[in-house]
Structure formats: C-alpha cells, structure tokens
Subunit: 386 residues, 2 copies
C-alpha cells in the first residue's frame, strides 16, 4: 500500500498502518484538514451546553466542515453521525474511544447515529486470513462492545455490511460509477495485485454518509480520512452533502509513544475482555516517563508527555481536569512515583472494564433494538438507499 | 477494452463488441473451447430423446465440459442451467435465442434454471448513460420476454442483481478475494479508467454458477466466455464445480454477414416488440444472397450462405430440416426468388412475434412465480449463498 506523505518523512499514517511518532500538526497539513481551534471549541460548548474532555483536550484535534455542521444545527437543518468498526478481532480501548465521543454528540444534539460493521472489508483484506464466518462472528462480538457504550436505541442503527447490503447496493453502484481505478490507486495505493473486492469496497464505506439528506458528521481516527476525501468529491454530484469529519489522535500504545495499538503486538493494547491480572501486568510494564530509580525520580521528576500511563489518563481515564492537573504536577515534580501513577491508571482501567462488561451483558438483550427493532432500525430496513 | 485475439486479426469478439466476419473455428482455437462434434450430439440426442435444431445445426457449436455434464446426468448427480440478460434496452430475436435452447434443456432434463438480470452491470457501463431506474425498468420488461419463453415456474428463478444481492454478496466476496486487478485487466481489458463497480462486477456474474453443488451448464453466446474462464479457475478452490458452457454463434444482423445485431444499428435487428410494418420493411431491405435481377436469379441462383433471410430460417425460424432443405435447394437453383424467400421469413417472424406477445401478456400474471413465489424462487429467497 502507498504511504501518505511519501518517503523520507519520519511517520506514516494510512488506513492500514500507523508508524513512527505522529506529528499531528504535520498530519493536518499533509491531509489538508483544519485544526479544531479555541473559537470552534467555544461554539461547540455553547451549543452542547458543555465540552467533553475528548474535545477540551484536543484528543479530537482536526476536522472537516465541523463549523458547517454547527451552522446546519443552528439553522434547524440538523445533521447525523456515522462511524464504524472493522470486525477483525476483539476491540481494545483505543477502538472504543471514538464511540464515546459519538455517544456524547448524540446525547447533546439528539441526532441519529449509524454504525457500520465492515465484515466484508475485513474478509477481503487477504493478509488477515480471516474467513467470512470469522469476520461475522467478530461483528457480533464488536456490536456488543459498541452497544455497551449506551447509544439511544431508537436513534441508533448498527448494521453489518453482508446483512444490509441489499439496502445499500444501489447507492454503492452510484458511488462506484464515479470512482475509477486510478483514483483508488492514488488514495489507497491499490495496485494490480489488489483483489477486486477491496477495489470496490470504498464505495460500500461511503454509502452510510449518504443515508440522510443532511450533513453527516464522522468521528473517526485520522487514518480513516482518505475515505472521506473521495466522498467529499462526489457527494454533491449525487445530490447529497459532503461529509464532515472530526478526527482523533491515536491513543498511545503501552509499549511507547510511537505508532498505534496493534493486534499484532498484544502488549501494546488493553482489550475490553482482558482479565485483571493481565491488565495489571501490561500497565506495569508500560513505557514510562519516569526516572530509573525512585530516588532519582523524587529528585528529577518524571516526564508526563511521554509517559503512557499519564497519557491514558489524559486521553480517556481522568476526565476531571483539576485532578488530572494535580497528577501531572505531582509527577513532574517527582512527588508521584511511576509505580504510583501506574496504579492510579490500573484502578481506573479495571473499573472501566468492569462497568463495560456489565453494560455489555445488558447489551445482549438490547442489541436487537439497534440492529432491527428500534425506531431508527425499523425505518432503515424499509429504506433502499439510491 | 482489450480485444481477444489482438491486432491484425480480421474479427473481434469480446463481451462488449463483435466486429468483422466471425470465423467460428478460429474462435474455438482462440478461446480454447471444444467443438461440439457428432459423437457428443448423438449422446445428447440419446439422453434427451431428440435433438433441438439449434444443436443439430450447430448454432450451438462449441462447449466446455458438456460431456461431463452428461456424465453427471447419467450418474444421477444432475446439473443445473444458468443464463442471463443485461437489461440495457428492449430484446431482439438474437437475445431470445439462447433462452429457447435453455428451455429445451429444462424440458428434456427437468433441471433448475437460474436467470440473472444484470441491472447493476448495465448501470455501471458508463458509456450507456443509463440510470439505475432505467436498467431496472428494462429488467422488468426483459423478464416478461424471458418468461414468455415458457420455463417451468417451479424450477426457474429469475432474479435481478440489485434485488437479490443480499443473498449473493457473501459468495461474491469469496469470489472477489480470489481475483485481482491484474487478472480482470488481462481478461476484460479493464484499466485505470475503469470504474470500481465494473472492476468488481465479474464476481457478481460468477456467483449464480455456484448456486448449487452440482455442475452448472451455461448456454450463452460465445462472447460471454471470458467470465466462465475465471469461474473455472476458482470454482474448485471454493468447493464447487467448474462451470460447463455451451456456446452459440451470433444470429447474423439483417444488414449483412459481419458483426452482431446491435442497438446502435436498429436496422440490423428485429425487436420482440416491433410492429408488422417495420418487420416487413427491415426484412425486405435485409442483406441478400440473390442476384440483382429476377432474370439473373432464375438463371444463376442465389447464395444461401450469405443470405440473411435464409440464415434466419436456418438459425431459428424453420426448425423442420426437410422444409429448410427444400428452401435451400430452390434458392440455390434460382427457383425461389429473393423476394419470395424474404416473404417466407417475414410470415414466420410475424407469427413468432404475435405468439410471443400473447405469451408475454400471460407472463405478466406469472412473473411473480419466477421471481418470488414458485417453488424454486421461494427456496432461493431463503438461501444465503456463501
């Protein structure tokens, strides 16, 4: 696959690969997106009544047309949310993060959420070696994790491509007719060895952004941006809105501040199903910004910028700004030892996972609402998109 | 699009274009198919109890694995038939011809028939400029013409890709994962300008050949052969049979003995909906093997080999061999004038079209059986192919 930015640069971000220490300012430049500035944050806060810490701390740091989404909202035209998951295995904490922002946006603006499970895509990615039966099995498992986040069952539609394809196919054809091989080669690096399913697949991923004749806002990790660039070039010619997006940084891997968490390195991530012993061990071994000995640490202090435990608190696990600031200061001064910091995170992660699993159990009874029987789902099964 | 056979040869046959005077022996060589020989014909005749004139006269002249289909039949493993239609406009007589052989095979062997209406493909072919609404409209119109042929409503499933896609998509993905861009470039001439829907489409056309775990026999015009070459290379690795095929020649265009009938040349074909005046006019103006004057014709005789009216009787409209031979002899000797020969054909075509239209009217009441409510159709809507 081709790499955005080309050779010679020190980091790589594509929908399939994140390598190196990502410079997010450079990424904004490379991808041609817009930083989320103070002014925009204030506006969101005013309209939403509050500001989620994921926004406040610039975990979601970049966007396309988020200002227009807010214009539409103010003008009464509304908008809708679309996000998704490639069901290739169990979900880790990095995977679930964008769903929390999505839920927050749904709660605050009362809008519809569409969640695509791309069981077709993950089967077509040959190097994964997954059967269709496996990706569909993961689609079910992942749907439970997503449902556990607590979306509104009457305003949320979770669908899986191989099941919902009949409703999407006419629109996928209309998208596909506007996109040629040369274009997907440029955007995704597809070549002569790419299978014809993968080549077609971007059309399927674009369709949900055209589910309503309103602006679609897509919360996603920045590596998914290439899909939406194609969408934005063709949507208006199909009579729809260009998709807006809000892009997150990558939750740093436990193994250190470069790349992103990856299934091929189990030590880099904590999975939603992971047991206590394993969580304790992984965080204990996590990349630290502390000094080699407690004595030195007390004297010199730690570096929260590269400390993964601190970064996880910052990204997700300590939403309270005052408490986070206290932790940061204590760590920097040396008052808080690396082991202590890690324990703070460990307890928070364990509590989060426990709660998640309870909600996941409850979701088993509710999943049919998201997929088939809730108000939005029922409506969607009646609709052929074209 | 690339052209099978390459430059310098005097005729071209691809799924999109037939040009020049087709040399069918050379085509067998080029495509690597097998001629239908006397021995195979005798065998079909013995098993079927008779021989259709389309076989007897080698209108269906070439095959792949037809002998194995008969082996399977004799061994009690059975087989099934698959054919289709690209709904890009009204059907002419050349389009309906393979359906008559298909019906004959169904009657004689009592097997299931699957008929695919590729409304997706005809939309994706950009140069046609058809909307999806239009190709679906034609799918309905064409389905009536096909139903008029009189297939067994409990053993025939007529389906349209955009409607039946949910049932086919998992299998299409499995096919697509085995076919890369390089392969479809070589087979179909797809290039960087080809849209990603067209690139994926061959997977959709291959799926019905995998509807049953038996050998599939595909009656089709020889230009469709490339699709089945890919099928034959991947079917066994998916646990299915290589498709067998039986290939027809092209009914010669009224305008002369080269190319095939084409929508871009309305004078070359007679459409199933065409009125009497127009049929009379087109046949009257058809390319003739006769002499310039009646006097010369009486003296020198005509040439049935290039005479389109005679060829149409040979291909389709005079199934009785004795009567056809008499016409041929009289024409060759000069006893039968060109005008007389054309009138014989005209009356037969008009009678055929009249009967066709009656059956087409009746088919309006029966179409639901082929599409949804007949025994086979009901079974097929319950089945997800994977």
């Amino acid at each position: 696959m081709a790499e955005a930015g080309g050779a010679g640069e020190e980091f790589i971000v594509t929908p399939w690969k994140v390598e190196g220490k990502v410079d997010y300012d450079k990424l904004i430049e490379r991808f041609g997106t817009t930083p989320i500035d103070d002014e925009l944050l204030r506006r969101i806060g005013k309209l939403a009544g509050e500001l989620n810490h994921l926004l406040r701390r610039r975990i979601f740091f970049s966007h396309r047309d988020l200002d227009k989404v807010l214009d539409d909202w103010e003008a009464g035209r509304g908008f809708f949310l679309y996000t998704g998951r490639g069901p290739s295995g169990p979900m880790h904490i990095g995977h679930i993060l964008p769903f929390y922002l999505t839920k927050w946006l749904q709660d605050r603006f009362g809008v519809n959420v569409y969640i695509q499970l791309t069981d077709d895509e993950k089967f077509l990615e040959e190097e994964r070696g997954l059967t269709l039966e496996e990706t569909r099995g993961w689609a079910y498992e992942n749907a439970l994790d997503i449902a556990a986040v607590g979306f509104d069952p009457d305003k949320t539609f979770i669908f899986q491509d191989t099941e919902y394809i009949r409703n999407m196919y006419p629109m996928a054809l209309k998208v596909a007719r506007k996109v040629n091989m040369s274009w997907v080669r440029a955007v995704f690096g597809f070549d002569m060895q790419t299978n014809i399913g993968m080549i077609f697949y971007p059309a399927i991923q674009i369709v949900p952004s055209l589910f309503e004749k309103r602006r679609c806002l897509i919360p996603c990790a920045i590596d998914q941006d290439p899909y939406w660039r194609i969408q934005r070039d063709i949507a208006e010619s199909l009579g729809y809105y260009k998709a807006a997006a809000i892009h997150s940084k990558f939750l740093p891997p436990l193994t250190g501040p470069t790349g992103k968490m990856s299934a091929s390195q189990p030590e880099s991530a904590i999975y939603l199903h992971e047991d206590e012993e394993s969580v304790r061990r992984k965080i204990w071994k996590a990349y630290s910004g502390g000094q080699p000995t407690a004595e030195l640490h007390r004297k010199l202090g730690g570096n929260p910028e590269v400390d993964v435990a601190f970064q996880w608190l910052y990204y997700f696990f300590e939403p309270d700004d005052a408490r986070l600031r206290k932790i940061e200061e204590d760590y920097r001064s040396g008052a808080l030892l690396t082991g202590e910091l890690k324990l703070i995170l460990t307890e928070k992660v364990l509590r989060f996972l426990e709660e998640h699993r309870e909600k996941r159990e409850e979701a088993k009874e509710k999943l049919h609402l998201y997929k088939y029987d809730g108000e939005l789902a029922k409506e969607m099964w009646k609709k052929i998109h074209e």
